[in-house]
Point group: C2
Chain length 416, copies 2
């Protein structure tokens, strides 16, 4: 199974960049001389090691937890017995991976992750199929993005195949925490943080990759529940040339206040608009899909924002596009990665051409939208009064489920 993934994604992954030595520079220190005068040995050092799964050591907990009643699970609140950790430093590269009991991290208060947000992460899930196999969904896509995020903030990159191998072993080790019921899964959170303990603003000389796992229940335990959004025009999530397309911690904390503002007025999420054109970009922390009927031709079109640097490169987004091209295009649908304005969406709604709108992300897979509050107008997103989901959102959820839970054998599903 691993070989298959290697083949699929080898084109897209970045090589670790050559890294200058980086000890504690002042903010405006002549950087070149400082880097090479403090650590002249760095230039001649042997190539630092990549992550090596064969060096994995496992220390099992002596006090295993009792998995919680699945119906009581809350997202990201309960964790399994163990965690996977891999340390890195600029001299040696990646050290031996370790699976050890879930435990606190002990870090110097000067550690750069606390000050300069040297941190990126992934969100992915392990599912149990009806043969009892543990399956990951498109882990190659997650590790590809993880490397891109790391490189953008001068954290070390690594072999995605080695990381998938280790994450798969870890998920399998924790399989007793994955409830054997449809809708349940083990949420995996690979995280990479800078650990250098100096206050100079520079590329971290050391880092820690860790993976923790949290059993999660269905996002909608009693079936879909359509949400209402508030369009946000007073704050901007991302910008061309910025880092909004990377899964950095930096993109998340600034989203909370607009989210709380929307909640105050009774909306479950905010919808990020961009620019004077008011392009529809993302909803809260998910990608957004819009289905409309063409004004002239009547052709149905499924639209999501293009990857122009301001949109998170969602794995669920990519999967929905793939499934749409495979299954909807032959039925006559146009599948578009293009910009769409709030005005266009509003017009389609008024003319009865807005078929449905839904968010897409790892947590909910799809999340249907009932209405959007925009400049004092309530834009109806096409659901009938007693409907909680449109047809496409429902189909997508079922197609994704079938692959994720292994009902259907598919190259996106990776048996651990």
């Amino acid at each position: 199974m691993l070989r298959q993934i290697v083949r699929r994604s080898s084109r897209a992954l970045q090589k670790p960049a050559a890294r200058p030595s980086s000890y504690s520079q002042n903010m405006l220190q002549p950087a070149m001389s400082r880097w090479y005068s403090i650590h002249p040995e760095a230039a001649s050092a042997a190539k630092p090691l990549d992550i090596d799964p064969t060096r994995l050591s496992i220390t099992k907990t002596k006090s295993p937890k009792t998995p919680k009643d699945p119906s009581q699970l809350v997202f990201g609140r309960e964790f399994t017995d163990h965690m996977l950790t891999i340390e890195w430093n600029q001299t040696e590269g990646w050290l031996a991976p370790t699976i050890s009991p879930y435990q606190n991290l002990s870090l110097d208060p000067a550690t750069c992750v606390f000050h300069y947000a040297f941190e990126c992460f992934e969100g992915m899930k392990a599912y149990k199929d009806n043969q009892g196999n543990v399956r990951l969904f498109r882990p190659d896509k997650n590790m590809e993005r993880f490397n891109k995020s790391a490189a953008r903030i001068a954290l070390p990159t690594f072999s995605p195949y080695a990381a998938i191998d280790l994450i798969a072993q870890f998920a399998k080790l924790e399989e007793r925490f994955i409830p054997n019921e449809r809708g349940y899964s083990l949420y995996l959170r690979p995280t990479l943080i800078g650990t250098q303990k100096t206050l100079g603003v520079s590329a971290p000389g050391s880092a820690l990759l860790f993976v923790i796992a949290s059993p999660v229940g269905p996002y909608y335990p009693t079936g879909f529940k359509a949400v209402s959004l508030e369009a946000t025009d007073y704050a901007v999530r991302a910008w061309p040339g910025g880092v909004g397309d990377k899964k950095l911690g930096a993109n998340y904390a600034p989203c909370i206040v607009p989210q709380m503002e929307a909640a105050k007025r009774g909306f479950q999420q905010n919808l990020w608009l961009f620019g004077p054109e008011e392009y529809v970009t993302e909803v809260g922390t998910m990608n957004l899909f819009v289905a409309i009927k063409n004004k002239e031709t009547g052709q149905k079109e499924l639209i999501t924002a293009p990857l122009d640097g301001t949109i998170l490169e969602g794995v669920t987004r990519d999967s929905i596009l793939g499934l749409a091209r495979e299954k909807l295009a032959p039925e006559g649908w146009l599948i578009s990665e293009r910009k769409i304005t709030m005005k266009e969406l509003h017009e389609a709604s008024l003319e009865g051409r807005l078929l449905e709108v839904f968010g897409a992300g790892t947590a909910a897979i799809v999340s249907p939208v009932r209405k959007i509050s925009w400049k004092g107008t309530m834009v109806d997103c096409g659901l009938h009064e007693h409907e909680e989901s449109g047809e496409i959102a429902l189909k997508m959820k079922n197609w994704m489920d079938a692959i994720q839970y292994g009902d259907e054998e598919h190259e996106w599903s990776h048996i651990c």
Copy 2:
């Protein structure tokens, strides 16, 4: 001394906002119902406590360090014996402040600071005057900004006066680490992190404010050394509606790669441009000042970018503007907070009207610029070949020194 600060800055400080309860929401959970159904008691709870300096407890180290030879100090690498910490949670508010031995923080790997960059900080310095007093420089400005940063990412705010009182006590306790020589100081790093240990993206229900202190030497031990900059147009630091005006960790990690790129080509720092107009915004992690002579009138003008939401509200920036208005304006200078394009700067350089350019920040105070690489052109910033600083940068440094080291009694200097 504290009363004076209270009077000076009471107009500008934010009140802590009402905070909803925030346990572990899913990313698209109906937020209102979740917040108030999990913690109904939050609404009726007594007003959470503010920071209270009278509750301070001090535990001194049993193994005091020997302060390092001042000439060997590297910025942000050595720390004093103790740290100041104040915990917060949404039920009780701010707990009793503690000064205790400098030590690691022990945090659950699910803690939100590692994942979503719930972190903001300040940079400030304590100086020793020639009577042996320990002095802070404009701590009210730092605490005002600290509160603004915290509020923007849904972290708790606090009384700035209480925080200044505690920081002053802490700096005084560590005074043996402040070398008794001009150019030396104790760099103070107040930091606020979210500590909630769940993966739901929501306002942290708990936080930790800590202050650590690092003795630092003069930025330019042998006198000014002018730097060269590379104008960055392929990456954008900040944008309108974003968070580039707040001192968030989120603004720093994404700056490193452009900095490394500039360094690779032999430039000490990068210069952030903005928009198709190529407005000059900031240099690396400092504000930027430009002195030009007017084309028509010959009037001298000191220019820095206006606070339009994309510029860090630097305390050194504000101080330089204040000193310029007090001391340069009467000599005929125009002091401007306005946008200036790279083209305008280049034209002034070609015409011999670009008098000087310098960065401004807490670490270096001022940092003269020799040249800027821009689209294959090298823009000369007005220094003669053997000069390392222009006249204004030098004057500013001396004026600032005199206030910071207490040679001149000034309302900006706060005796601890």
